[in-house]
Amino acid sequence: MTETLLELKGLEVTFKTRRGVLKAVDDLSLTVNKGEILGIVGESGAGKSMTGAAIIGLIDPPGRVSKGEIWFEQERMDEHPQQLRGKQISMVFQDPLTSLNPLRTVGDQLVETILAHMYVTKAQARQRAQDGLAEVGIDPDRINAYPHAFSGGMRQRVVIALALATEPKLVIADEPTTALDVSVQAQVLDLLKKLCRERGTSVILITHDMGVMAQTSDRIAVMYAGRLAEIGDTREVLSNPQHPYTQGLMASTPSVDAKSFGSELFQIPGAMPKLDALPPGCAFNPRCSQAHERCRTSRPPMVSGRAACWLMEDAS
């Protein structure tokens, strides 16, 4: 029996600009179950990070959540995100080199975070901090070291320790490995996955890397131009993608087997439209090879909770 931890209902994030109001996230509904890893994929500008920022309540003005609801453990939380921020929901950012305050020791930053959310003494917090470092594979004696004394991969481990220090129920990992060397990426991902599985912590993993997604997540959500294009079990979506955009993404993922040596990569023609110049109907229609009249006039709904595409509706 899967229990719902987080539910987004018709989430909309808008930005007021001189060229009008832009929808960075447009009518997004999805759920995250307890203990599961949900991957969100999409190109840059598809609204993945904005979704993460909206959940934790950290959208920089002039952006704001303009519509929709965010439910966390059966409670509406979009009106008071600061109550859950850091304690129930924490975040791992893309660049570990800039995520840590360079002027304060890692231990200091850990202890401070623990003290902000848990009823423990300073000594207990310090002990917890050391345990946390040990868990992510860092020598606890390095608690008084400054961030610059660690390599990129090590710093991302510290960031993970920080994100898990308060035993949150949900971790939002925004491109956690993009800034790391390929050889370190797998280690950090495995660590994040292992620690969250052990604690039953849910993860929203935001990435543009289909490979990372395939290895790590239980379910996948594909976003395009601020809208949800497809969502489903990782195996399902990868083996039988329904939305033409997902199919294109899969086809354009480079593989390293001998068969594909020298062959040209597939490309989806065109580029994702700018948010101020979205086409009517399905946002993907100008790039879609299977688009027909209906796709150009009206926006497709989610069909059987899987993909927002008229083709699927026509098939059923």
């Binding site: 934790i56 950290l58 600061q82 859950l84 921020r85 850091g86 304690k87 924490s90 975040m91 950012f93 660049d95 080199l97 800039t98 995520s99 840590l100 305050n101 360079p102 002027l103 304060r104 020791t105 930053q109 401070e112 975070t113 902000a116 959310h117 400054y146 610059h148 004394a149 960031v159 920080l162 994100a163 308060t166």
Partner: protein
């Protein structure tokens, strides 16, 4: 770490010797000290005797060496105008200037940093914008005009504060202080504001700009995402990262507070070294001028040295000899 400190010390001493050299050259070549000391009707023998006793026949480097040795013993010669030893004049007048500089520095740094942080955090707030706009006045009005305005409002119209002088100073033997009497403290307010206002607005604008820059950094976002209270994010994480550039400018400004004290001391007839310098310029009192130059030079060098050491205290990356800039 120790190496960095020693190297900075070495550099400071070198700069001090250079300052001493310039100050020595002024003493030696601007005007003729012998003429100044003897006047028109002296006999040739007396001139020769004085030149010999002043050591003016010695080669240049020997004279320079003598000058430095005497300067190290706080012997800067005798004022042409008053006939008093210059060192004694400086010791008499330095406390007044230092106290004034201290008051305006504390005023400038405290208020500047606080207002800078406030305007950065409440970027769109009404009060923040009001502070910012009025700070433009502080930057663009000339200092002496502000001094005169202050005197007009608070001394002439409201009669709250004295318009000139130092009030009653208490002599502690080696130091005469205005901090211990009410009239002394009251006298410090107006010149302190006048001297510190420009530096205050400068520090405020710099703090604000740096703070805004730091608040955009990922570690601030991450600190917020960890649910730390705003106070901790702003003061525990952001402020410290803005301090390195702010301290640099504040340090340099502290030096110029002493240098600019000349104008303030003139407006308020403040009995400090600045006023002494201005009077020395009127009378071409070369020993006083060169001693003042040496004093201000030393002060600048000292402040810079302290600023550099403060960097090491603030930024652990510099302690480890890793000279990358903040943010990386």
């Amino acid at each position: 770490m120790l190496l960095i400190i020693l190297r900075r010390l070495g550099q400071s001493i070198f700069v001090l010797f250079l300052v001493a050299f310039i100050s020595f050259m002024i003493f030696r070549y601007v005007g003729n000290p012998v003429d100044n000391l003897l006047g028109q009707e002296a006999t040739t023998e007396r001139r020769e005797a004085l030149i010999e006793s002043l050591g003016l026949n010695d080669p240049l480097h020997v004279q320079y060496f003598d000058f430095v040795v005497r300067a190290l013993q706080f012997d800067f010669g005798v004022s042409y105008r008053t006939g008093m030893p210059v060192a004694e004049m400086i010791v008499q007048r330095l406390p007044a200037t230092i106290e004034l500089a201290l008051v305006s520095a504390v005023f400038a740094i405290l208020l500047g940093v606080v207002a800078g942080v406030y305007t950065a955090i409440n970027r769109r707030g009404f009060i923040a914008n009001a502070i910012l706009s009025s700070s433009l006045i502080g930057v663009s009005l000339p200092t002496f005009l502000i001094g005169v305005l202050l005197i007009w409002i608070f001394a002439v119209e409201l009669k709250w504060l004295p318009s000139f002088g130092r009030g009653t100073a208490v002599d502690l033997g080696f130091w005469s202080t205005g901090f211990l009497t009410i009239s002394g403290l009251k006298s410090l307010i107006l010149p302190g504001i006048m001297l510190g206002l420009y530096q205050m607005t400068l520090i405020m604008r710099l703090t604000r700009a740096e703070m805004l820059e730091v608040l955009r950094q990922d570690y601030i976002k991450f600190a917020k995402a960890r649910g730390l209270p705003d106070r901790t994010v702003y003061f525990g994480h952001a402020l410290k990262n803005t301090l390195v550039p702010v301290i640099t400018i504040a340090g340099l400004q502290l030096g110029s507070i002493v240098a600019f004290a000349i104008i303030t001391e003139t407006v308020f007839q403040w009995p400090g070294v600045g006023l002494m310098f201005i009077n020395a310029v009127y009378f071409v009192d070369i020993p006083v001028m060169s001693a003042y130059l040496l004093l201000v030079g030393t002060l600048f060098v000292l402040i810079n040295l302290i600023v550099d050491l403060l960097y090491l205290l603030i930024d652990p990356r510099l302690r480890d000899g890793q000279l990358r800039r903040a943010g990386s």
